[in-house]
C-alpha cells in the first residue's frame, strides 16, 4: 500500500510538470465520456417513454379512412364492423380540416386546423385517449367547449378559458389542452417536407362527435373509424376482412386501412431516437480516438524522457513491470481526471438533452430517467481503458529494449528521422526556413499522430458543415423553386370541389379592402388531389396539382422535359427524386392511383396510365403537376378545390386571410412567404445545433495541436537553447514552430476534409436517403465553408506555438545546455 502510494506520488510529479497537456487530453476524454455517459441511454429512454405514452393513451391499431370528401353513415358502418370478430374497440370520428382563429387580444393567430369529433359517450374515447396537460376534459354532454392540442397552445401561450373560432363563425371555449398519440408530433396537413413545423401552424381541436356533426351538418356521418384489435388475433387476416366487408358495404367509397404503428409521426419519432443515438455514439468515438492519439503522444514523450531512468532501473535489475508502472500510472491519472470531469459533464448533457427533448418533442409520459447506468459504466470503462492502452504501447516498447540501448543515445545525437530522404535534395530557402519541414520529418510518428488527430477533428467539423450546407442548399433550392415566379402568390384550399364558375369562387375575385380597392389582381382555379405513383413494385405518395397550362401566375420550373404532353397519355411532371425512386425517365409511362368522383360525396380510387413528360426543380419528392386540360380522368374537370391568387399591389396576405376567414368553404390560405418563414424557423434551430458541433470540432483540433506543440518544445529544449545561445530570437523560434504547425495543420485539414466529405457522402447517400424520403437532399459543401474550415483549422493549429511561447521564454539556457553528469 505504502509502495503504491510512493509510485502514485512519483507519477503525479511527472504529471504536474505537464499539467496543461494532461488537462487538454483529460478534457477531450471528458467530452467523449460525457457524451457517452450522458446520452448513451437516450435511445433507450426515448423509446421506453414513447412505448409507455403510446400504450397508456391507446394508439389505434387500425384506422379506416376515406377518399377526401367522402363520408360514411355512422350506424351502418359500425354495424358492419360489429359482425367482424376480433375487434376489441371501435371508435367513430369525424375529422374535418378547417381554419382556426385563436387570436387573443392584440395577437392574431389565424392558422390551419383540424376538428376531431370524438365519441365521449360511455367514458370514451377508448382509443386515442386524450391526455390533459392543462385545464380539463369536456364532459360528455357539454356543448360549445373543446380541448386544444397542447403544443399549439403552449406555442401561443394560450390559457384554459380562451375562446377560439372555427372558420364559418363557430365560437368555442377551450377548457383544456391535451394530446393524443396521433399528434405526439404534429405534422402539417399538407405535404410540405417540413414535418416538424406542424405545432405552431396547426391547431388540433378535440370536440364531442355529435357537436362536430352538427356544426358541419353531417348528422350521423363519420369519415374515420379507429379500431383496437383483441389480443392474439391475426392482424393481416383481420385487416383483409375489414377491408373486404367495408368495401362491399360501401362500394361507392374509397376505403383506406392504415396501421397505427405506421403513423408517420410515430415512425419518425422512433427512427429519430435510433439515429440520434448512432450520431451521438459516432461523435463520442471520434472524440475518444482523438483523445487516445493525444494520450499516446504524451505517454510516448514521457517514456522518452524517462528512458534513461528506465535504463538505469534495468541495469539495476528491476523487473520490467515495475519500470512500466510509473508511466502507466500517468495514463491512469489522465483517465481519472477525464472521468472526474466526464461524469459530471455527462450529467449536464443528460439534463440539457432531457430538457431539449421535453421542449421539442414532449411526451405525456416518461419512462424512468435519461440517466442510464450501463452507459455510464461503459463510458467509465472506455474512459479508463483507452488512455491506459494508449500509454501501454510506448511503455511496453521502452521496457522491452535492451538496457544498453536505453542508456545510450543520451549524449549521442538523436536520429534524424526521415530527413535522410532529403539528403542531397536542394530545398528552397535557407536552413532556418527549412527547419519546420525537417522537424516534421525528424519524428514522423509524432507528426503522423498529430496529423491524424487534427484530421479527425476536421473530419468531424466537415461532416457537420456538410450537413448544414446540404440542408441549407436543399432549402435554398426549395426557395428558388417556389419563388422563381410570383413570389407574392397565395394558395387558397377549399373544403370541397366547387364548379369553377361557382359564385363562391367568383366572390374571391371581388374581394375589396375597406376603402373599396380590389384585393386580388389575378385568380386561377386549380385542382389538387392526393394519390399514388406506381411503377412496378415501387409506390410513392404524391400531392398532385392540376395547373392551367397558360397560367398567368405560376407553373413549375422544369429541369428537363416539357409542360404539355404528346396527347396519348396525360402528361405528368414529377420531382427528380420521385422519378429516380421509381426508376423513371422522361417519356416513360407509369400508373397514377387517384380519386375519381362518382357521386357528390362519394369517391373511389382509380388507376390511370400517365406519361412522365417533365422533371420540376423542387426537392420535395411528393410534389407532382399535371395540366388541368388532362384532368378529365378524375371526373373532376371543370371543378376546383384550390385557388391560386396574386394579390393586388400593396395588399397584405393577412388582410386577405382575415377577409376570407368568415367566407364559407375555405380550408387554408397559404402564402409562399409563410412557407419561407417556416424554413427560417427550422434553420435557426438546425444551424444552432450544428454550429455548436463545429466549435467543438475546432476546439479539439486546437487542443491536439496545442499538445503536440507543447510536447515538441519539451522535446527540442536543448536545440532551442542552442539556438538561443547563438542569438536566434524567441520570435524566430516561434515562427519556425508556426511553420511546422502550418504544414501539419494543412495536411491534417486536407486529409480530414476529404475524410469528412467521404463520410458525409456515405451517410447522406445511404442513411439520409432513406431517412428523409420526402426530399431530395443536395449533398453539398459550399466553397465558403471549405475555406472557413481550412482557415479555421489551419489558423487555430498554427497559432498554438504563440500560446506556447511562454514555455520558450521560461527555458533556462545555461541549465538546459549544461551537461548533467
Amino acid at each position: 500500500m505504502k509502495k503504491l502510494f510512493f509510485w502514485l506520488r512519483w507519477a503525479w510529479r511527472d504529471l504536474r510538470t505537464r499539467w496543461t497537456q494532461v488537462a487538454a487530453i483529460a478534457f477531450i476524454i471528458a467530452l467523449a465520456t460525457g457524451i457517452f455517459a450522458g446520452l448513451g441511454g437516450q435511445e433507450t429512454w426515448r423509446i421506453a417513454s414513447m412505448d409507455l405514452s403510446y400504450e397508456s393513451l391507446a394508439l389505434h391499431d387500425l384506422k379506416i379512412s376515406l377518399t377526401t370528401g367522402s363520408l360514411l353513415p355512422q350506424s351502418q358502418a359500425l354495424a358492419v364492423l360489429e359482425d367482424i370478430e376480433g375487434l376489441a374497440a371501435v371508435e367513430p370520428r369525424l375529422v374535418m380540416d378547417t381554419m382556426v382563429d385563436a387570436s387573443q387580444g392584440e395577437q392574431t393567430i389565424l392558422v390551419s386546423g383540424r376538428v376531431i369529433g370524438v365519441d365521449f359517450s360511455q367514458g370514451g374515447p377508448q382509443i386515442e385517449r386524450i391526455h390533459i396537460d392543462q385545464g380539463r376534459l369536456q364532459h360528455p354532454n357539454e356543448v360549445g367547449v373543446v380541448v386544444l392540442e397542447t403544443k399549439f397552445s403552449r406555442h401561443y401561450d394560450l390559457q384554459p378559458g380562451n375562446r377560439v373560432q372555427l372558420m364559418g363563425g363557430e365560437e368555442l371555449t377551450a377548457v383544456g389542452f391535451g394530446v393524443t398519440p396521433e399528434y405526439f408530433m404534429v405534422m402539417p396537413p399538407e405535404q410540405t417536407g417540413f414535418d416538424m413545423l406542424g405545432e405552431s401552424s396547426m391547431a388540433i381541436v378535440y370536440m364531442a362527435l355529435p357537436e362536430a356533426q352538427a356544426i358541419y351538418g353531417y348528422d350521423n356521418q363519420v369519415n374515420e373509424i379507429l379500431i383496437q384489435l383483441a389480443e392474439g388475433v391475426d392482424h393481416v387476416q383481420i385487416e383483409e376482412e375489414i377491408f373486404e366487408q367495408m368495401s362491399a358495404a360501401f362500394p361507392q367509397i374509397g376505403i383506406f386501412l392504415t396501421r397505427g404503428e405506421d403513423n408517420p409521426a410515430r415512425v419518425m419519432m422512433y427512427e429519430d431516437a435510433v439515429e440520434d443515438q448512432e450520431m451521438l455514439n459516432m461523435i463520442a468515438v471520434f472524440f475518444l480516438i482523438g483523445a487516445s492519439l493525444a494520450a499516446y503522444n504524451l505517454a510516448g514523450r514521457l517514456v522518452e524522457s524517462q528512458q534513461r531512468q528506465i535504463g538505469i532501473g534495468m541495469a539495476l535489475g528491476l523487473p520490467r513491470w515495475k519500470l512500466a508502472l510509473r508511466p502507466l500510472l500517468v495514463g491512469l491519472q489522465i483517465a481519472f481526471f477525464g472521468l472526474l470531469l466526464g461524469i459530471p459533464l455527462g450529467y449536464v448533457f443528460t439534463q440539457l438533452f432531457g430538457n431539449l427533448m421535453v421542449e421539442m418533442a414532449p411526451l405525456p409520459f416518461y419512462a424512468g430517467s435519461l440517466l442510464h447506468p450501463p452507459s455510464f459504466l461503459i463510458a467509465a470503462a472506455l474512459g479508463i481503458l483507452l488512455p491506459l492502452l494508449s500509454t501501454f504501447i510506448p511503455v511496453i516498447q521502452a521496457v522491452r529494449k535492451e538496457p544498453l540501448e536505453t542508456l545510450q543515445g543520451h549524449l549521442a545525437a538523436k536520429d534524424s528521422g526521415l530527413n535522410r530522404w532529403l539528403k542531397g535534395a536542394r530545398l528552397p530557402g535557407n536552413t532556418f526556413s527549412q527547419l519546420p519541414l525537417k522537424n516534421i520529418l525528424r519524428s514522423p510518428k509524432r507528426s503522423l499522430l498529430t496529423i491524424a488527430g487534427i484530421a479527425m477533428a476536421i473530419a468531424l467539423l466537415f461532416m457537420f458543415t456538410g450537413f448544414l450546407d446540404s440542408f441549407l442548399g436543399t432549402l435554398d433550392q426549395m426557395r428558388t423553386s417556389m419563388l422563381y415566379r410570383s413570389p407574392e402568390r397565395l394558395v387558397i384550399i377549399l373544403d370541397f370541389f366547387y364548379p369553377v364558375d361557382h359564385e363562391q369562387v367568383d366572390d374571391l375575385q371581388n374581394l375589396e379592402t375597406a376603402d373599396g380597392q380590389l384585393m386580388v389582381s389575378t385568380m386561377e382555379p386549380w385542382l389538387r388531389l392526393g394519390g399514388h405513383l406506381r411503377q412496378g413494385e415501387q409506390e410513392i405518395e404524391t400531392m398532385l396539382e392540376y395547373f392551367p397550362i397558360n397560367s398567368q401566375i405560376w407553373v413549375p420550373n422544369l429541369l428537363r422535359g416539357t409542360l404539355s404532353g404528346s396527347g396519348e397519355f396525360p402528361g405528368i411532371i414529377l420531382s427528380n427524386r420521385a422519378a429516380r425512386d421509381l426508376g423513371l425517365d422522361v417519356g416513360d409511362v407509369l400508373v397514377l392511383e387517384h380519386p375519381f368522383q362518382e357521386g357528390l360525396f362519394s369517391f373511389r380510387t382509380e388507376e390511370t396510365e400517365v406519361q412522365l413528360i417533365g422533371i420540376h426543380d423542387s426537392p420535395i419528392r411528393g410534389l407532382s403537376y399535371l395540366a388541368l386540360d388532362d384532368a378529365e380522368f378524375t371526373g373532376l374537370s371543370r371543378t376546383t378545390n384550390m385557388i391560386v391568387v396574386n394579390p393586388a399591389p400593396g395588399v397584405r396576405v393577412d388582410d386577405i386571410r382575415a377577409d376570407l376567414f368568415y367566407q364559407p368553404g375555405i380550408l387554408t390560405i397559404n402564402a409562399t412567404s409563410t412557407m419561407l418563414d417556416f424554413m427560417d424557423e427550422l434553420l435557426v434551430m438546425f444551424v444552432g445545433v450544428l454550429r455548436v458541433m463545429q466549435i467543438v470540432g475546432l476546439l479539439i483540433a486546437f487542443l491536439i495541436a496545442y499538445n503536440s506543440t507543447s510536447i515538441n518544445i519539451d522535446d527540442r529544449k536543448r536545440e532551442v537553447a542552442t539556438m538561443f545561445a547563438y542569438g536566434v530570437g524567441i520570435r524566430k523560434v516561434v515562427f519556425s514552430e508556426i511553420g511546422e504547425n502550418l504544414i501539419l495543420g494543412l495536411i491534417g485539414t486536407v486529409t480530414g476534409g476529404f475524410l469528412g466529405w467521404w463520410v458525409l457522402k456515405q451517410m447522406m447517400l445511404t442513411r439520409m436517403e432513406t431517412m428523409i424520403e420526402e426530399m431530395e437532399l443536395l449533398i453539398n459543401i459550399s466553397p465558403f465553408s471549405i475555406i472557413a474550415a481550412v482557415v479555421l483549422g489551419v489558423v487555430l493549429v498554427s497559432i498554438t506555438p504563440i500560446i506556447n511561447a511562454r514555455k520558450l521564454k521560461r527555458i533556462d539556457i545555461p541549465s538546459t545546455l549544461r551537461v548533467i553528469e
Binding site: 549524449l411 549521442a412 545525437a413 538523436k414 536520429d415 534524424s416 528521422g417 530527413n419 535522410r420 539528403k423 542531397g424 535557407n430 536552413t431 532556418f432 527549412q434 527547419l435 525537417k438 522537424n439 520529418l441 525528424r442 536543448r718 536545440e719 537553447a721 542552442t722 538561443f724 545561445a725 547563438y726 542569438g727 536566434v728 530570437g729 524567441i730 539556457i813 545555461p814 545546455l817 549544461r818 551537461v819
Partner: protein
Amino acid sequence: MIKLDNVTKSYEMGPVSVNALLGVTLGIERGEFVVVLGPSGSGKTTLLNMIGGLDTPTSGSVTVSHRQLTSSGSIDKFAFRRETIGFIFQSFNLFPSLTALENVRFAADMKGISDALAVAKQCLDDVGLSQRIDHFPHELSGGEQQRVAIARALATGNPVLLADEPTGELDFRTGIQILKLLESQIKADKTVLVVTHNREISRVADRVVELSSGEIVSDGDPKGGRADISDLHW
C-alpha cells in the same frame, strides 16, 4: 576585448547562498588563447556563460567587445550573442535533423551572410571535414561532431569563441586535434576561451586562468611550463 570587474554570482539555496563566482576580475586581449582550469564545480561554466551573455552577474560588471553585459545593462543579449559569440559545447548540441553542412550553414544563415553555403563549406574544409558534409550528426563520430560544432561557431564569423569542455566527450588523440584546431583560430584574429578541468590540457596555452571555488587562484603561464601539444599526456 573581454573585461570582468569584481564579478560575483551567487545562488540563494534557502538559508545558504552558494557562490559560483566570487569577486572575479579578469582581462583578455583580442587574439588571445586562454584556458580556464579548475575542478568540477569551481565556476568555469558560470564564468563562460557570463562572458557569453547567457547569464548575468549578481554584482560586478562584464564588458565584452565594448558592451556592458551587467544586469542593469539594457543591451539586447540575443543580438549581442548573434554578433559576438561562437559557442562550442561539451555535448556538441548539433541539430539532429540537419546535416553537417546544414548545421554549419545555419549559423551563417542566421547572420544573414549572403553566400552562406560557400562560407559553410569553407568552414567545414577548415576543420578538415569536407568529406562528410552530407552526414547527419548521428552518423558522425564524437570528434567529427565536435569539429562540425567548431565549424558552426566559425561560420558566424564572430570574434569570440567560447568552448566549454570541448574535449570532455572525446578520447585523447581526438581531444588534442580539437585543441589544436581551436588554438589555430587565433591566427584568424579570434579570441578563444577554452574551459577544462584537465591540468595537462591547460599546458598548451600561453595563459591559464585557474579557478577554485569561484575565485581566481592563478593567472599566467601554465604550471609545469608550456608544452607542445604533442608532448601532452592525459
